[in-house]
């Protein structure tokens, strides 16, 4: 049943209809990101009414799938479990965020270096990155389209009175809160999210809108290279089981060059791009010169106004189709890049 919805929404997914993909994990992951896509499609409808509408059926989450959500939702906080690589990634991403934010302030309170900062964690999942940021003193809002993830995150922070005060979770997508939170955040964190988003351009624009002037955007994601296919998909998902099967789709990976161009064209000036490498034997991440697998980026909002809207309108239809065409044929995008 979900089959047909995919083929309507994203024509590219035909390569994905291999039987092995539809294990329980992939059902859950595809479902949760289908919700995101549905929201994004709706948003597209409002802003660009002349773009083609792909029938989006409302999300009626299957009761059988609730169990899958719950089963996996509990796994977020097992440091040696399925999400262990994300836990150990905190050793890189928290200092990355913290140090770059500390550069923007003259003094900071010892013990609470990020106090006074408002941070948005998009796609927070179970709150793995949200909690350390809260412990460092920031006021954090964590959002995730999957209800169960938010429930797990709420439950986990409920035991710690300090975190209860500093962190707020909401089950929604970024577009839904753009209006009410325009220009309110000192930092937006989108860690391991953009490789699951269908419309990166819009996503970045929303990030731009919610950031204060001079605010920072932190992104960590996977590069789109042959190496990332071999190691990130084939090895990690299918062979070694480091990442649950079906979590990622290679077509949706974003190269640093593409990300940089989207960021720059949307008023965010890129300060840092750094490669990250995971050692599956030790379980630790390391910074690296090499960005061909995972990488982190830091960009700062540096243009006061949005890029002129009419220009965007004229080209959007084409860019949307361009994106769609890209997703049909991944090879094309590579050629386009060259």
């Amino acid at each position: 049943m979900s089959f047909s919805i995919y083929s309507e929404n994203q024509f590219s997914w035909t390569p994905q209809t291999n039987p092995w993909v539809f294990s329980e994990y992939s059902m859950m992951w595809f479902k949760s990101y289908r919700i995101t896509f549905a929201c994004l499609s709706r948003m597209k409808i409002y802003r660009y009414p002349w773009t083609r509408l792909y029938g989006t059926s409302q999300t009626t989450v299957d009761s059988s799938e609730i169990k899958t959500f719950v089963a996996l939702a509990h796994r977020w906080w097992d440091e040696q479990g399925v999400y262990a690589p994300l836990h150990s990634m905190n050793d890189l991403r928290v200092p990355f965020i913290r140090d770059n934010l500390l550069k923007t302030v003259a003094h900071h309170q010892p013990g609470k270096p990020l106090s006074g900062m408002k941070i948005l964690d998009v796609g927070c999942g179970g709150g793995l990155l949200t909690e350390p940021l809260g412990r460092l003193g920031a006021s954090v809002i964590g959002i995730d389209p999957v209800d169960e993830n938010i429930k797990t995150a709420q439950h986990h922070k409920s035991f710690d009175p300090v975190l209860e005060k500093r962190i707020e979770y909401r089950a929604c997508s970024l577009e839904e809160i753009v209006e009410e939170t325009a220009e309110t955040f000192d930092a937006v964190v989108a860690s391991e999210v953009i490789e699951h988003v269908i419309d990166l351009e819009t996503f970045i624009q929303c990030c731009y809108q919610v950031l204060k002037f001079g605010g920072s955007l932190f992104i960590t994601t996977v590069n789109k290279t042959q190496l990332s296919y071999a190691l990130g998909i084939v090895f990690s998902e299918q062979i070694a089981g480091i990442v649950p099967k079906g979590t990622h789709t290679w077509e949706k990976f974003v190269s640093p060059e593409k990300l940089e161009s989207i960021l720059e064209s949307n008023g965010l000036s890129v300060h840092t791009v750094a490669g990250m490498l995971y050692n599956p034997f030790s379980g630790y991440w390391h910074w690296s010169e090499n960005t061909s697998l995972n990488y982190a980026a830091h960009a700062v909002k540096s243009m006061r106004q949005e890029p002129p809207v009419p220009a965007g309108f004229v080209f959007t239809g084409k860019t949307e189709e361009l994106h769609d065409k890209d997703s049909i044929n991944p090879g094309v995008q590579e050629e386009l890049k060259k």
């Binding site: 609730i66 097992d78 150990s88 412990r135 035991f159």
Partner: protein, 457 residues
């Protein structure tokens, strides 16, 4: 298990712990207010990344009130290595010690009673090898620094923990993730990390079910404060290995030294019971008498010695004699039993062991409290980095870093000390020969001695 997370709101009180809502939640609780436990609480309290954290120190005994430094020296002293001194100065306790009293020593002579072999440790540069400080002085300095951070560190005296409840692994959604501690007066508290510093009979370690390898030595240590016959520079630490056990003389002042004599239980009881004159004579003859020498060993020893002198003509270590003792302080003779202990695991989720709770060692190398202070240094370093990264303090990821760090060092030292104790507890000729030659050879190889000093610092 029912998917509890789906239906209910945040869990504040659970059927297991009623009143959990009212419990204070601490970031770190240190159980045991001895030298190592107090140093831990102090170091965390002064750490910059712990500025907004709540720390609690639980001590079973009463608070010691000091008006001023007593004139008589205490009989319990510790040899503080330079590394430990660095730790103590990192949070300002060393300055207090300097203002009270301590004795630096520059040289250490260790020799055998059964032969002429000896080893002399000294630093070529004018650095101190170590410091002899009374335990009471160290405690006083630590307590003063603890009071300086009383906004972050709370100390509960006369509080003994009687029960611990450990957190379930993450999958039990309904249960509190913290460690719950019940005190003797019935009150309870919760903590994100429990540090066990409660000595070699650690209640924390037993409650956690951590395996402990331990055995008692057939020895007790006798300590006393001795008055020397004449005032000397007194900056040398002396230790002689008698067949019954090592006897050590540690400098306290120009006229005073501290005695630590490990010997059999019967002999120890005898020493503590005998009258003062006889005791003084026994101590002097223990250091000076050559009654245990045998011709065979003497001949073998001088053979190697001439070989060494031939190869390294410049270095000559003649055996020096320690100062002679005139009297002993009244009521300063005390004995306590000795043993070895080592915990199989130093850490569990939300639990870390430091000091004697993790390892117990023979005093012959003067390393006991230094190993404990080394544990404090390492754990504070790991916890500070974790706090600056916003990590959950009880997370195993950095606790295992501390465990690996310290187990490597402590296991080696424990094994070496035990080996030395056994090697020197015998009169059997082959072993005496082995250790004589071994000691002489080690004495001749300066880089090796430097390594030993570095390891024990």
């Amino acid at each position: 298990a029912a998917p509890a997370a789906a239906g209910r709101g945040p869990l504040l009180s659970c059927r297991r712990w009623s009143g959990a809502k009212a419990d204070t939640l601490y970031d770190v609780v240190v159980s045991g207010g001895g030298l190592v436990g107090t140093a831990m609480a102090c170091a965390l309290g002064h750490d910059i990344h712990f500025s907004d954290k709540k720390i609690l120190l639980l001590e079973a005994g009463p608070k010691k009130v000091w008006e001023k430094l007593p004139e008589t020296y205490s009989n319990r002293v510790s040899s503080i290595s330079p590394g430990s001194a660095t730790l103590l100065s990192s949070f300002g306790a060393w300055d207090h010690i300097c203002n009270m009293r301590y004795r630096a020593f520059r040289r250490m002579q260790v020799w055998d009673a059964c032969s002429e072999a000896l080893i002399m440790f000294d630093k070529d540069n004018l650095d101190d090898m170590g410091y002899i400080v009374e335990n009471d002085v160290i405690m006083r300095a630590l307590t003063k620094q603890l009071e300086a951070v009383s906004d972050r560190v709370t100390v509960l005296y006369r509080s003994r923990a009687v029960g611990y409840t450990w957190p379930y692994p993450f999958t039990m959604a309904d249960s509190s993730p913290w460690v719950h501690i019940t005190l003797g007066d019935g009150s309870t508290l919760q903590t994100k990390l429990l540090i066990g510093a409660d000595g070699h009979n650690s209640g924390v370690r037993q409650a956690a079910g951590i395996q402990n390898v331990s055995w008692s030595y057939d020895q007790s240590a006798v300590v006393a404060t001795l008055h020397l016959s004449e005032a000397t520079e007194n900056n040398v630490a002396w230790q002689r290995f008698l067949p019954s056990g090592p006897i050590a003389l540690l400098p306290l002042s120009d006229t005073l030294s501290s005695l630590v004599w490990s010997t059999s239980h019967e002999h120890a009881a005898e020493l503590v019971g005998m009258d003062e004159e006889k005791f003084v004579d026994t101590v002097n003859s223990a250091f000076w008498s050559d009654a245990n020498h045998t011709d065979l060993i003497d001949a073998a020893g001088s053979l190697l010695q001439s070989a060494v002198a031939f190869l390294k003509p410049t270095k000559v270590s003649a055996r020096q004699m320690p100062p002679s003792v005139a009297r002993v302080d009244a009521k300063s003779r005390v004995l306590f039993p000795l043993g070895l202990g080592h915990a199989a695991e130093y850490v569990r989720p939300r639990l870390a062991l430091i000091g004697d709770a993790a390892h117990r060692v023979h005093p012959l190398a003067g390393q006991g409290v230094n190993m404990g202070f080394g544990d404090v240094s390492s754990l504070v370093r790991h916890l500070s980095a974790a706090a600056f990264n916003g990590k959950d303090l009880g997370s195993m990821s950095h606790l295992t870093g501390y465990e690996t760090d310290r187990q490597r060092h402590n296991t080696a030292l424990l094994a070496a000390t035990d080996l030395l104790k056994r090697l020197y507890s015998t009169r059997a000729a082959p072993l005496v020969l082995l250790r004589t030659w071994g000691l002489q050879a080690t004495n001749a190889v300066s880089p090796l001695k430097e390594q030993i000093i570095a390891f024990a610092s």
